[in-house]
């Protein structure tokens, strides 16, 4: 989505808390001097932490001298930002019109049931996140499911189980 504007960053895992904080701090120094840099800062923060926990949102509000409610408002407006930890793999079921008609809704229900988490949730072992997408531009493959960057076509509940098992 906004990947092209991101700075090249290391994967979210592995860094110590101090390193993460230092990297966030550097990101705020670089982009946080004007209000217009908020989305960029949030984006980098999410890259560093994997999601936007409350203390990160608070720190950004404090450092950029913006109301906490405004920063949180931006975070919760864009579906790209997540305030809950994300799993190692992100499963997105497309609910664009074509996918919806061809069974996307049933796939979402099935996924919620098998993973035991709601849309936007993450499994207890932090392996999978479950989300929906609003048309990924693969209508000819409907219903489509994306796991991380890979698109799977004409998915059925049974096929979805098989895809999931491969991770």
């Amino acid at each position: 989505m906004h990947q092209e504007v991101a700075e090249p960053v290391a994967p979210p895992t592995g860094d110590s808390d101090e390193t993460k904080l230092a990297r966030l701090s550097a990101a705020i120094d670089q982009y946080g001097s004007a209000k217009s840099g908020l989305i960029q800062v949030l984006h980098l923060a999410q890259t560093i932490y994997g999601y936007l926990p409350p203390h990160v949102i608070t720190l950004i509000a404090a450092r950029m001298n913006l109301p906490l409610s405004e920063v949180a408002g931006v975070v919760t407006f864009y579906s790209f930002f997540s305030t809950v930890p994300r799993g190692k793999h992100m499963i997105r079921v497309c609910l664009g019109t074509a996918c919806y008609i061809r069974g996307g809704k049933q796939l979402v229900d099935h996924l919620k049931e098998t993973l035991g988490v709601p849309v936007g949730g993450v499994t207890e072992d932090l392996k999978f996140s479950c989300d929906v997408a609003r048309c990924i531009g693969a209508c000819g493959l409907a219903p489509a499911v994306m796991v991380d960057d890979v698109v799977h076509k004409q998915v059925t509940p049974a096929k979805l189980d098989a895809i999931r098992a491969a991770y």
Binding site: T58, P67, L68, A72, G73, T83
Partner: protein, 612 residues
Amino acid sequence: MVNLTINGKEVTAEAGATILETAKANDILIPTLCYLEGVHQAGACRVCVVEVEGARNLQASCMVPVRDGMVVQTNTKTVRKARQMLYELILSDHPADCLACLRNQNCELQRLGQRLGVSQSRFEGPAKHSILDISPSIYRDTSKCVLCRRCVTVCNQVQQVGILNAQNRGYQTVIGPAMNLSLSQVDCSYCGQCTTVCPVGALGETDAVSTVWRALDDPSKRTVVQVAPAIRAALGEEFGLPPGTLVTGKLASALRQIGFDDVFDTNFAADLTIMEEGTEFLGRVKAALTGGEQAVLPMITSCSPGWVKHIEHAFPSQIGHLSTCKSPHTMLGAVAKSFYAERIEADPKDMFVVSVMPCTAKKFEISRPEMANGGLPNVDAVLTTRELARMIKEAGIDFVGLEDSDFDAPLGLSSGAADIFGVTGGVMEAALRTVYEIVTGRELPFDQLHVKPIMGLEPIKEAAFTIEDPLDEYAFLDGIEVKVAVTSGLANADILMEQIAKGESPYLFIEVMGCPGGCISGGGQPRPTTPAIREKRLQAIYRADEAKTLRKSHENPYIQRLYDDYLGQPCGHLAHDLLHTHYTARGRFNELIADEPDPGCELFEPALGAQH
């Protein structure tokens, strides 16, 4: 100038004016919902749509500036149908419990429906995201919110506190603090300006009416009531009297009819505040000029609890600048439960002190642990102007027809200096009237005792004068220039605070009132407070002052007697115990800073996972 046609009528307007403003100036009324003159123009509700020739869609007239040659129609079938449809869509997720809503008959949404001729509600949407958040001062009921965003503008642009913002998106949108926190968990000042602009019942003061009725119905309670200066200049509006009508006498009568045992005037305590605050100020200046003691200057007034809470959050390291004086109504509460209790031989435990205030922040203020003496709160309940109006109606009192009466002695007599506590600049002027005279033995050298430069509704006002020929006791002030500043509204106060934080403040004394214009436009005052209404209330306050022969706090004989018989000296031991307080460095994220400021990182963990 721009020439255009509205409904076939040729009109002219200033360039930059909106269609809505231009139409209004030409007696063509366009219905609005979210629009708030001079404050909020967001085009959020679309109710003000009109047809503009050549435009593809209907245009929100509050947003679109007039152009030369524009042809506007405000009353066509398309426009009427669109407005009705918009209204029905707003109703689709609005609870239909009008009859049991506090805003019934005083609701802008209700009035709008009537005006648009809507007689049906065809759509039923999913119920709105419902959060009921009750803080000591303000309640939020998001199920009633119509997302007009007036409160967002007032909170972020006018007051610049930024507590309320839109969270989430689409149907999930809710106006509120960050991360589903409640108002009492964040740095809300409780100024209540949001409650005065809410068109519906989504934001309002937290109820004290039922508590007060309970006390009134309890025969073992001695109920003492007091009213702030700004009430008398605004309460009449709730009963259809024109803005700016002074209803002091009717107010006292109404309170007596409601059943209060003692009807006192917070004005009395305003005079008392001047004695204490004036003495404190002179003490600080003396310490600064004669060396030795450390003195924090400028001193800042502490009458406005919204302001006090704001400085505790936003400038925690500067709270030493606040006067240690309690606010006037808590002073009166403290005096009522000590001096007056002794006098009438009542047990202060059996007394119930009610303050009628133009303010929502005072509701929180009375719950502060430091606003208590001998284990009893100084004040037991705070009613806003709006709540008192409700009680008067509930009691079946014909307010407009009431005879005038006076407040009770001894805590009911006050000077004109106390009246002007209700308006920006008033506390400073009242203080100067007394302090100048104490220092020089002469009357403040201004026409009618009014310090003109600090009167009026400008955001930041200042005045300066040089002390010449002081009394011997104050010889250290000879030739000293006293520079003072007055401001109202939290955004303006922040400007003066930044100056102080940088060590660049040129002032010795600053008056701050948390609400723009002062208490006359407080968060508990009748809705609406427009610039015109604010001005009328201001004039009424000055009329009340000028109508009194007693114009200076230190000349109030009851104040003099209170010191002689009971308190001793201003800022003396007993006065300090009863009338002064201290403050809490809360910090921006409510981290309650003890000594060292904390970056406030790990604060909101409990609220985790509230979104989506």
